[in-house]
């Protein structure tokens, strides 16, 4: 779990073909394989049922959602839900706010995180390792234990109910530094040494050598940060009170609070709030999984 390149769990390393100790006949093997698929399919169904139900409900009328027996496939597909929702709540504003916050925080995290990680991984100076330990230690402290002092600080600085509070609190996380440092540690020092002899400054090495080499790690960090910010509820919930600043998560939650019987509309909103993340995840799945397997941390 230490270095990225040797921990690609999603893509299993090629294993030697199974040499069976005793020759098996073809029949049982086919049966075994069918059983394995059947089992996996059952597991996948169990995991995905809530999603299926969400999508199916989003295409129904409100009074068709909670029926006995369950209607898994709607009799008629009400695609109009997906048009109506934009008028019911300021969906476009919420989505735009979420995109803005996620992009801003991700960019800052990438920039400052990778920059600091280079200092921790490749520049030697006294006190460096102690400082890094302080970074790591804070990851283990639950955020809930210091959310109140953070809140007091933001209140005194009059930054509550602005995006500054969220951005400042989330853009400098220790996590990005940790993830990037792990990756830089796996890049051989000889490479930096050679660059130094060629006359590159440390900043040059960071920009021309490390950044291009660490693209996979940057992608992991970017995706994880983006998704975390997009899905974050407590941050915006604590700090953003004006409706026009709300993220999609807050908007959806408030819609549920106000119209708790509009089951289909709620599900339509839920689908729309999840959709961007699903697309992002399907595109960048590889980096996601690697980032998690490397760090083991959110």
């Amino acid at each position: 779990m230490t270095a990225l390149p040797d921990a690609p769990p999603a893509v299993a390393p090629p294993r030697p073909p199974e040499r069976s100790a005793r020759p098996r006949s073809r029949g049982p093997r086919l049966v075994r394989r069918a059983l394995a698929y059947g089992f996996l399919l059952a597991v996948a169904l169990l995991v995905l049922v809530p999603f299926g139900w969400m999508v199916s409900s989003s295409l129904k009328r409100n009074n068709q959602v909670l029926t006995v027996p369950i209607e898994w496939i709607p009799q008629e597909f009400r695609w109009s839900n997906f048009i109506e929702i934009w008028d019911r709540i300021p969906m476009a504003t919420y989505l735009g706010n979420s995109v803005f916050l996620s992009v801003a925080i991700t960019l800052l995290q990438l920039l400052t995180g990778s920059f600091a990680a280079y200092g921790f991984a490749k520049v030697r100076f006294p006190g460096r390792d102690a400082l890094f330990l302080a970074y790591i230690a804070t990851i283990a402290v639950p955020w809930q234990a210091y959310m109140v002092p953070q809140y007091i600080m933001m209140q005194r600085a009059e930054l509550t109910n602005t995006y500054w509070s969220i951005i400042l609190l989330q853009a400098f996380g220790a996590f990005g530094v940790f993830l990037m440092r792990q990756y830089y540690m796996s890049i051989p020092d000889e490479l930096c040494e050679a660059a130094r002899i060629d006359g590159l400054t440390e900043y040059g090495i960071y920009r021309r050598l490390m950044l291009p080499l660490s693209k996979p790690a940057l992608a992991s960090l970017a995706l994880l940060t983006f998704v975390n910010t997009w899905n974050d509820y407590m941050g915006p919930f604590i700090y953003l009170t004006s409706n026009e600043l709300w993220t999609i998560q807050l908007g959806l939650r408030s819609f549920v609070g106000q119209y708790d019987a509009e089951y289909a509309m709620i599900m339509t909103g839920a689908v729309l709030s999840v959709l961007p993340i699903v697309i992002l995840f399907l595109i960048g799945q590889r980096y996601f999984i690697r980032g998690i397997a490397t760090s083991g941390l959110k």
Binding site: M1, T2, P9, A10, A12, R15, A21, L40, V43, V47, P50, F51, W53, M54, L66, V68, T112, F115, A116, G119, F120, A121, V123, R124, F125, D129, L131, I136, T138, P142, Q144, A145, M147, V148, P149, M153, L168, F172, A174, V177, Q182, M185, D189, N231, Y233, M234, I238, Q249, V256, I266, M267, A270, S273, V274, I277, L282, Q285, F288, I289, A293
Partner: protein, 306 residues
Amino acid sequence: MAQAMTRSAPGGSPPKRPAWRGILIGWSFILPNFLGFALFTLIPMLAAFALAFLKWDSYNSPEWVGAANFRRLLSDENFYVALRNTFAYAGGHIPLTLVAALGLAVALDRKLRGVQFFRTAAFFPYITSLVAVAVVWNMLFNPTAGPVNQFLHALGVDDPPRWVASTDWAMPAVIVTSVWRDMGYYMVLFLAGLQTIPKEYYEAARVDGANTWQRFWKITLPCLRPTTFFVVVMLTIQSFKVLDLIVVMTDGGPGRSTLVLSQLIYREGITEGRFGYSSAIALVLFVIVLTVTVVQFRLNERSSTR
């Protein structure tokens, strides 16, 4: 990860450069992040400790009161309820997620065409936003017409629980939801751990006639120990600080049946503005997490030297 923390990095600079230049260059890299980190994480964290010994609310100026906040805690019924609920949540969430994640990882650690699809499916809930998860599960758990209870009816349960509408079953409902959401994440960690087990072990065991069950208990589990330990520590920290799922799904209710410590911190500190008192609760939460983690580390050391 543990080794990476303590191992000092093989730093790169040749010895001919003066030391102060190294310090200057090193800090210039770290500073942009460190400023934000120190100001918005480190200082609040240290302040939280001090705040716990102050009497301070939004109207009055801070005043040193020693352990008064903690004495008040001992007579606060909400605190006991939240403490018990937090342990109940952790007691359900930790073992169930562990078993589910390990089960998924073992099931999906095979060379089978399309296995990647199943891994993606299992990981999917984790990237879904909590609000969507809570909204969907709240409806699935609907006492009268929810799919969960319809399923239980079909199985012959005449009087299925009322889940989020009942004080006894709200916590189990929250636990089920959180296990479903988190298992894919820990599955990824277990899958990474499984890749490190040499395949020769299984070959040898098969030649010796060990069946699947024996191979799992005698090879897979012992070899996975470092991963399992790491997962348990992460799960513990995550469980004790649970907040957002509860806020979105039940908001502590019905009654106080799902009120947890983090939520009490939020209510006292941010809603009510009792900064000192809420920090005392936060300190208790921190000490609990720290104690459990330290005990886990000790247990792990002892059994690995045995």
